[in-house]
Amino acid sequence: MVRAVYPLQRPIVRFSGRLLVYSYMTILAVVFMFPFFWTAASSLKSASDIYIYPPIWIPAVLHWENYPTVFHLVPYATWFLNTVTVVTLGTLGVVISGALVAYSFARFRYPGRDLLFLITLGTMMLPAEVTLIPSYLLFKYLGWLNTLKPLWVPAWFGGGAFNIFLLRQFILSLPHDLDEAAIVDGASYVRILQSILLPLMKPALATVAVINFIFGWNDFLGPLVYLTSPENFTLAVGLRYFDVTPNQPGVPEFHLLMAAVVMGTAPIIALFFGAQRYFVEGVVLSGIKG
């Protein structure tokens, strides 16, 4: 309405306003991206360049050999493999067992179901610290300490309250007529899940998978508590181990540490770009885990 009164001013106001918004957004982006830039630049510097002051922003000679050097100093390839193992097995467990449990909560009637669902939601309010010590003792009793099992086996038991909640809500949003028609046709429940619901649930399952993959990749407390010898570390605890390794002559220095950080972060960012659609939808629902 206001615009109609001053038609002549409109294009100018719009243009300068937009310029302002874009410069503001660009400045913010530069601030947010600077730590990444500094990390990448440092990872390509020589041992002598990194301590030069004032700082060298872009090294004249790019020392790509820093990356292979990391693999010689620490069992980085093993850490990477361990992380991929834990995260893949854990994500599979969450998706498969979570889908089964969500199906039960969404489509079946049995006594105690609503109470069970309330308890499930209630577990989301419990801080991990409370269950951490008994879980540690349980895994110690099972002889699982210093193995990868404590980090992925529990994921096969339903995948936790948040994932169950998200998948259940999704199944509830699917029309019930489909399963009912299948029941009339004599299909078993397993078959309904397999051939009707699971194909329709693909977007929700992808969302759950991506979120869990990223949380698993970044998890620190679990591996810190359960893993003790470096050859069993995941990347998160491995990076920290590399960070605090007592200084042998010349290592680890920040250029090598930064190369390790780049390699530990890049896969997650790559995954994000590949699965951005599922991730952005999912993360909006995932705050509960953060």
Binding site: A29, F105, T131, A236, D243, I288
Partner: protein, 359 residues
């Protein structure tokens, strides 16, 4: 119970507001099947269908088809029933019991009554100071983090080209693993040769010692957190909330002569208050649980300047192997978190507005 209902309601509000994975209509449409009402609606705080439906459920078990349905339902729920027992309820009971004992993992636990709790509250120098550090951290990170995320979301919510690129750029820091963030910021904050002190020095200001100085370590950890928090999940959730505000409301307010600022205060903020509440509850819980970042960036130091409560629990358990004492600390921590959540739920009906009307 009411807290769970509330959280459930908020989750549902947000999941339906996003409208992507969980279509809004099918969750809130009246006249859906009885089964859906029983499943989806009975958790709303005033559930008219819940109790009768429950009776029907029980009675319904008399037919073979319903018995079969119930049996399969329980079979499908079995992984979680076991998981709940083994990894949640069992540990909760064990943790409560252990908190009343002295246990160093090697010798069997010995019952000591409430003395772990008494020690924590009266005889542990680091208990109150770590609690205080944690609150100092949260008092800054939560409001500054939330308002920053909201500001970014409002900026990105404009109908101009290129916002999705900026959204991605702002979001990337939150994907960085806490360990990686801790390490790379150690290097950014390096007092002698780091780029941050270079910038501060070239402005002619005194250079702080950052992570190495007792006075600056906490602000430094807060800055690292904010880098990850501002553009992270909160921003995306706010963005989804802002996109759910009907344009007609803005138009109507504009016709009445409200400027941008007034529309933001009187239209946008009330409409996204459920989203603010959601982010606030989770933001406080998340901030009070701060661990990995401080563990990596400062190891709680220097001089315990960043010795947060979660670090205190961790060291008692896995540094000193005082398992009983650590369980008592964990329960005190759980109580603190629960009190905070409950207070917020109680305060919420004063300022959270649900457009749908039903709470």
């Amino acid at each position: 119970m009411s807290t769970i209902h509330y959280i459930y309601h908020i989750l549902r509000t947000i999941t339906s507001g996003v409208g992507v994975s969980l279509p809004r209509t099918s969750l809130s449409e009246p006249g859906t099947s009885v089964r859906e009402i029983a499943a989806g609606r009975s958790l709303s705080p005033a559930p008219p269908a819940s109790i009768p439906q429950h009776l029907i459920d029980t009675l319904g078990l008399k037919t073979p088809a319903r018995r079969r349905e119930a049996m399969w339902g329980i079979i499908f729920a079995m992984p979680w029933l076991l998981g709940l027992l083994i990894f949640v309820i069992g540990p909760i009971v064990a943790s409560m019991a252990l908190s009343l004992t002295k246990y160093d993992v090697i010798t069997p636990p010995s019952f000591v009554g409430l003395s772990n709790y008494v020690t924590a509250l009266t005889g542990d120098d680091l208990f109150w100071s770590s609690l205080q550090r944690t609150f100092e951290y949260a008092v800054v990170v939560v409001p500054v983090g939330l308002s920053g995320s909201l500001l970014l979301a409002v900026t990105l919510n404009q109908k101009i080209a290129g916002t999705s690129i900026f959204r991605t750029l702002y979001f990337l820091p939150s994907l960085t693993p806490a360990v990686a963030a801790g390490i790379l910021w150690q290097w950014l904050f390096d007092p002698q040769v780091g780029p941050i002190n270079f910038l501060i020095g070239s402005l002619g200001l005194p250079k702080p010692g950052w992570l190495a100085s007792p006075g600056w370590a906490l602000p430094a950890v807060i800055i690292i957190s904010l880098w990850g928090v501002w553009g992270g999940n909160n921003m995306l959730i706010f963005l989804a909330g802002l996109q759910g505000v009907p344009a007609e409301l803005h138009d109507a307010a504009a016709v009445d002569g409200a400027g941008r600022w007034h529309r933001f205060i009187h239209v946008t903020l009330p409409m996204i208050s459920p989203t603010i509440f959601f982010n606030l509850v989770l933001g406080i819980i998340g901030a009070l649980k701060v661990f990995a970042l401080a563990y990596v960036a400062t190891q709680g130091g220097p001089a315990y300047a960043t010795w947060f409560f979660a670090l205190h629990i961790y060291r008692s358990a896995f540094g000193y192997f005082q398992m009983g004492y650590a369980c008592a600390l964990a329960w005190i921590f759980a109580m603190v978190l629960m009190v905070f959540t409950l207070v917020q739920v109680r305060l919420a009906n004063r300022w959270v507005y649900y457009a749908g009307g039903e709470v």
